[in-house]
Symmetry: C2
Subunit: 144 residues, 2 copies
Amino acid sequence: MGETNGNGTALRELSQDECLRLISPGGVGRVAFNGSHGPTILPVNYQVAGGAIVFRTRAGGAMDDDLRTGIENLEIKIAFEVDEIDENRREGWSVLVQGPIHHVTDDELAGLTGLQVEPWAGGTREQYVRITPQRITGRRIQSL
Amino acid sequence: MGETNGNGTALRELSQDECLRLISPGGVGRVAFNGSHGPTILPVNYQVAGGAIVFRTRAGGAMDDDLRTGIENLEIKIAFEVDEIDENRREGWSVLVQGPIHHVTDDELAGLTGLQVEPWAGGTREQYVRITPQRITGRRIQSL
């Protein structure tokens, strides 16, 4: 379904398949959750593996600690977003994944084929986490 | 303050002044808030004006409607993030602004010098909003 904005751009909702295709190469995404100072956004390097969004929390100060504490204490639902936007051409797409976040256990990690398991730095402070998508939505904005 | 991760990168917290300098040119940022389907992230075109983050909500489907409804019904606190990340070099920076979001009134709009006021498309569906920063944090990751 398309919608024309009148300012020279058209907005189109993306199907779930299109969204999955766009985010499947992995790269940089942004995760949002409720931290100790309110809503928080953190950029992360992610991969898609086993139908889930997988990334590492890294030793990186208060924001990361917030996320880790949240995951350890309760099952929290978070948002994960990937986009590719050309500011000059006013074109691009964004995909939003919403769902619960969990620690990835060592057994699960072994089963995630294709995951680039880099050496963990800092010992216990590195942890893989996984977002199980409950809702995947996206949209594309194109110049007319 | 620097921290070495051991995986070839160093992380440094940025001062508030550095953060403000990095985000001052405007461009594409991401806003996070609690929508009707849980935490939500939405890319927006923003500018910095009068010490605030200013952007338009645009006619763009459920996510935007969520944000607009939130702003109209209560004073919500949101997160706003800008980053510039080089995936290949594993370097970059991110800035996080947290604070309440408000509608910008016509009088306020007139007082925001330097704001690029483009023609509003779609009549009543376009609205300028403003985030008043309560907390500005950021960090830079550099290869060693």
